[in-house]
């Protein structure tokens, strides 16, 4: 029991706390607490009115119990009563209880708000501060509704005490963060900016935080803060270490304020005014110079405060990215820290250098520290520091040092912490691909990855190596030889078996000439792994076996024997059983020619963003590339071999879009069985399909649906269904059209053609569309596929048209549809930080660069659906840019051959009014308007 200093104030509370601390077990503690709760309850319910002191004591006990982790379901009313006490300490405890244990009981909120209102109006600064603290601590929407309008007034009132101003500023900040819509901008904003000039450093300290937050949303309204912040900063930086008295911290003048001012400046581009800019550059140089001076104190607080300012200064220099001299100095300074004895500084230097590495001015300077960073990766004892080192190596990697960095990272992988292995694997895979000079090195690297950290090699990684090997014939022989050797290791990872199985199935023939890797040897090597593997891998190996029968007829008998074995033909797993049965039949029924066609080498994969990169982005941040994922759900459907199901329509043309890399693969829209009755058929013959209503959505509706997606049914009527699968990358696209004959009668003279009317109007070619001819007859119930290669040469407004003509039962049919190729398909999503976004947004401020639409919601307003649509539209979604979390902000670049158009967009839903406001800013007027129109029709 501790000694009590003065009075016997809340002695009961101290006794209770001691009792709790003396409890030997959890049970004893709970018992003691329950006893106390019963006691307090009876006191609160008792007839005798409690005096303020007792109320305070019991409320305080309840608070203590709550903070121990127990639930409290009473006492709120007593706490609210304390708020109107005129004893400061009683009021204070009341407010503390409310702040910690808010309850959205509406009756109480009304009472609480009333008490706060009284205190705010009391003109007693200590009471006002308590009330403001409470609002800031609770920060709920209800509080915002009640007070958001009053607080700006208190903040800028001439007669408010400094301490009240400080609390009001941060209180407003909290309310603004919670519900920005409730804080009205107005005449007060200009006066808030001038608080930067306030004599009281505490007021400035609080005000800067508020301004930093507000100016992100309204950069223009607060623009005057730049020069004020610069002059304030300059005064601090140049002051002697004792000038600022109590605001000097371990000989560092006003470190918190300095850091905040530097943060504020990072909301804006470099000052336009040359004098202001000169003064600022001088400040930044002073900070860099001071870093070289001997320390004024040996205390770590001194160096921390000083370096906090230094790191924030470097952040600002990196943000401006325009002063090569300062960037290089920053880099040298960080280089010194890389070898500092303080772990914290090494950590921060590695982190900060990562951003420096991406600036063209300092990239080379960062690279000079490669040996130190590699050494950090090897010797740092703290995993979080090693992780920073790995990040930095990744960031500083380019063609000149890729081999060194990749080999160091591979070596690190052998001992790396499990938590970060997957990320390292992804990084190595990306670097190896990005900077591969020769692809044999790339193949070696990926196989090493599998060897060292097979468990952490995700399917994206090994899919990717297969894709690259398939696309590059100069590496295929090497790959086959290398995997063959790798598979000879007594224990090899299952991922190695997958890669090996696939590569030998495709390119095993390239090494079959060597007797050491003759076909039977290859087969028995693979088959020796078969029984240890999972179902998915065994399924893959079965596909390899049937390919072997095609590649090496001499293995046919052996392999058929394997397929015929009971363990395959009657396998409990449906997929394995089906493959065994079908492959066995295929190998016995089909002629060698048919077999050779069915099992032809895989065609090259279309180039697209590495899915590994997408995965790394996903790991690194939410919101990055989340839509890339959807094709990868069903493990059997995305097996690496597209030609495994021996149904004539798919086997004869192994679909190039078979999902190797997690492409958005929906099965091609299948033609439903012809069900048209005779009566209908008669009508069909007389009315061309174009004339009759199509099933489902109208062509225009169907077209609009494709604005935000790439696959689906474009058109359907009684006769014909047209399905679309498409993929776009940069300014190129490939579209597969699937024409399904829904009838049982053959279509004749079937001829689909594509024209682009936009070109006819302007006589400028904006889209180049290459089509392949399709067979002129489409059998009843059959589906044919047509491939379109599309190149976007320049921006365009009208989509190309597809006209389909054919004869059905002798009657000519014709229809014309808009092809779902819209300019947004050539969007390249762009991730950027908030400040970059706003900088660009401002750069696009000419009236004709902006297009805006306010429109009513046509669909339920669901944030997730909206998100998916915006991602489907092609832009990146940027989180934490718009201060209002309800809003969506996106960015991307339209890629055409002739030019690139940067696009920024913002969508503001208003659930109450069921309206949206959509704003597009691009560098081209017609593009802004067109994108705005397209997108506005989606919600």
């Amino acid at each position: 029991m501790p000694a009590v200093s003065k009075g016997d104030g809340m002695r009961g509370l101290a006794v209770f706390i001691s009792d709790i601390r003396n409890c030997k077990s959890k049970e004893a503690e709970i018992k003691r607490i329950n006893k106390e709760l019963a006691n307090i309850r009876s006191k609160f319910k008792g007839d005798k009115a409690l005096d303020g002191y007792s109320k305070k004591k019991y409320v305080c006990k309840l608070l203590f119990i709550f903070l121990l982790g127990h639930d409290i379901d009473f006492g709120h009313m007593e706490a609210v009563n304390l708020l109107s006490s005129n004893k400061y300490t009683e009021k204070q405890i009341g407010y503390l209880f409310i702040s910690v244990l808010v309850n959205s009981n509406s009756e109480l909120i009304r009472l609480i708000n009333n008490a706060i209102k009284n205190d705010l109006a009391s003109r007693n600064p200590t009471f006002m501060c308590l009330a403001l603290h409470c609002i800031a601590n609770v920060g709920s929407r209800e509080m915002g509704e009640a007070f958001a309008a009053d607080i700006p007034r208190i903040l800028v009132a001439g007669d408010s005490m400094d301490s009240v101003k400080q609390s009001a500023a941060l209180c407003l900040l909290r309310l603004y963060k919670a519900s920005p819509d409730l804080v009205p901008m107005g005449e007060w904003t200009a006066r808030v900016v001038h608080l930067l000039n306030d004599q009281h450093m505490g007021v400035v300290t609080a005000a800067v935080s508020l301004i930093t937050c507000l100016c992100k949303k309204n950069p223009d309204d607060f623009k005057t803060c730049i020069s004020l912040a610069v002059s304030r900063l300059s005064r601090i930086v140049s002051s002697a270490s004792t000038d600022l008295q109590d605001y000097t911290y371990y000989f560092v003048p006003a470190p918190w304020l300095s850091v905040k001012l530097l943060r504020l400046l990072q909301c804006y581009p470099p000052p336009e005014d040359a004098a202001v800019k000169g003064r600022l550059v001088e400040c930044l140089e002073t900070v860099l110079n001071k870093a070289q001076e001997p320390p004024k104190s040996k205390k770590v607080q001194h160096s921390n405060a000083k370096n906090a300012i230094l790191f924030e200064t470097i952040s600002l220099i990196i943000h401006y990215d325009s002063e090569p001299n300062l960037l290089v100095r920053a880099c040298n300074q960080l280089g010194q820290f890389l070898q500092h004895r303080e772990t914290n500084l090494r950590y921060l230097a590695l982190e900060s250098m990562c951003t420096l590495a991406s600036s063209e001015f300092s990239h080379e300077a960062v690279k000079t520290h490669i040996d130190t960073v590699i050494n950090a990766l090897k010797t740092e004892r703290d995993v979080s520091v090693r992780q920073r080192a790995a990040d930095l190596l990744y960031a500083m990697c380019d063609r000149s040092n890729a081999k060194q960095i990749v080999s160091e990272m591979l070596r690190y992988l052998e001992t790396a912490d499990y938590a970060i292995r997957e990320e390292i694997v992804l990084k190595v895979a990306i670097l190896a691909e990005k900077y591969a000079v020769d692809y044999s090195w790339y193949v070696d690297t990926i196989l090493n990855l599998i060897r060292i950290a097979g468990d952490y090699v995700s399917e994206e990684v090994w899919y990717r190596v297969l894709q690259i090997v398939t696309n590059r014939d100069d590496v295929q022989g090497y790959a086959a030889k290398t995997v063959f050797e790798a598979l000879q290791a007594p224990a090899c990872h299952e991922n190695m078996v997958k890669v090996g199985g696939y590569i030998l199935g495709e390119f095993g023939n390239l090494i079959a000439g060597d007797p050491r890797s003759s076909p039977p040897v290859q087969f028995s090597l693979l088959h020796s792994k078969f029984h240890l593997c999972s179902v998915a891998t065994r399924a893959l190996l079965l596909s390899t076996y049937i390919k072997f029968i095609n590649l090496f007829p001499e293995t046919k008998a052996t392999i058929q024997g394997v397929l015929r074995a009971g363990s395959q033909l009657r396998n409990a797993d449906v997929e394995l059983q089906q493959r065994a049965v079908e492959y066995l039949t295929l190998s016995s029924v089909a002629s060698t020619d048919v077999l050779a066609t069915v099992l032809e080498e895989m065609p090259p994969f279309p180039e697209r963003e590495s899915s590994i990169l997408a995965k790394l982005k996903r790991k690194k941040g939410p919101g990055a590339a989340s839509a890339l994922d959807d094709g990868r759900r069903d493990p059997s459907s995305n097996d690496i071999n597209g030609g495994v199901e021996p149904t004539p329509s798919t086997v004869s043309t192994p679909s190039p879009s078979a999902d190797l890399l997690g492409l958005r693969a929906a099965p091609p829209p299948a033609a439903p069985p012809a069900s048209a009755g005779a009566g209908n058929l008669l009508v069909d013959v007389f009315d061309g399909p174009a004339a009759q209503p199509s099933l489902g959505p109208t062509p225009e509706e169907a077209f609009l649906r494709f604005v935000c997606k790439n696959n689906g049914v474009l058109f359907e009527n009684q006769l014909l269904q047209i399905g679309v699968k498409s993929e776009f990358r940069q300014n190129l696209g490939r579209m597969y059209l699937f024409y399904g004959n829904k009838t049982s009668v053959q279509f004749q003279n079937f001829s689909p053609t594509v024209v682009h009317p936009g070109d006819l109007q302007t006589h400028i070619l904006s889209l180049a569309v290459q089509t392949k001819r399709v067979a002129a007859q489409v059998d009843g119930g059959a589906q044919v596929q047509q491939v379109l290669n599309i190149e976007c040469l320049r921006d365009f407004l009208t989509p190309p048209l597809l006209s389909v003509r054919f004869r059905y039962g002798g009657a000519p049919q014709a229809l014309t549809l808009k092809l779902p190729v819209t300019i947004n398909k050539f969007f390249q999503p762009t991730e950027m930080a908030a400040q970059d976004f706003f900088q660009r947004w401002k750069q696009l401020s000419l009236p004709q660069q902006e297009a805006q639409k306010i429109f009513k919601a046509n669909h339920p307003m669901d944030a997730e659906v909206t998100k998916a649509k915006l991602l489907g539209f092609g832009s990146a979604l940027l989180d934490n840019v718009d201060p209002n979390p309800e809003n969506f902000v996106g960015a991307g670049i339209i890629q055409t051959k002739a030019l690139q158009v940067g696009c920024l967009l913002r969508l503001e839903p208003n659930a109450q009014a069921q309206m949206y406001r959509l704003t597009l800013r691009t560098s081209k007027e017609s593009v802004s308007r067109h994108l705005c129109e397209l997108l506005a029709q989606q919600f």
């Binding site: 501790p2 405890i93 200590t126 941060l170």
Partner: protein
């Protein structure tokens, strides 16, 4: 700053301050996870770590860990000194502050914190001004316990 937690070497939570709206359940989960993570770290390790999408800055004073969660663009070193300034304030107020002071006078610890940080931002960095506000309140009704100090925080 998103939140600040004070907990003992045994993992007992001594003070919690949340500057973002979270449910009680989430708060408990975060606390459990973080206490475990921080206690598992070795003494010489660096004071910063990435955790979810936040940065954790922590420092141990005698038997007590002070742990802050800040956002990506926030400054780690200045946060470390926020912790230190808070410890100084407690120390000045209690006189060689120790864990017991914070247990027995938890409400004071909250009041001091509110004067120093508000809504997760530094409000007043002057030691004099912060303590002036607190002392004023104490003048109105002086009640304070000085438990026997076992291990004062070392500076």
């Amino acid at each position: 700053m998103q939140f600040m937690l004070l907990f003992s070497r045994q993992g007992k939570l001594r003070l919690q301050k949340w500057y973002v709206p979270l449910s009680d359940k989430e708060k408990k989960k975060i606390t459990r996870e973080l206490v475990q993570t921080v206690l598992a770290r070795k003494p010489k390790m660096c004071s910063f770590l990435e955790w979810r999408d936040l940065k954790i800055v922590y420092k141990r004073y005698a038997s007590l860990y002070f742990c802050c969660a800040i956002e990506d663009q926030d400054n780690e070193l200045i946060t470390l000194e926020i912790i230190h300034r808070y410890v100084e304030l407690l120390d000045k107020y209690f006189g060689s502050v120790c864990e017991l002071d914070i247990i027995f006078n938890f409400e004071k610890a909250y009041f001091i914190l509110d004067e120093f940080l508000l809504g997760g931002e530094v409000q007043e960095t002057s030691k004099k001004n912060v303590l002036k506000a607190i002392e004023q309140a104490d003048l109105l009704q002086e009640v304070r316990y000085f438990p026997r100090c076992v291990t004062p925080f070392s500076f």
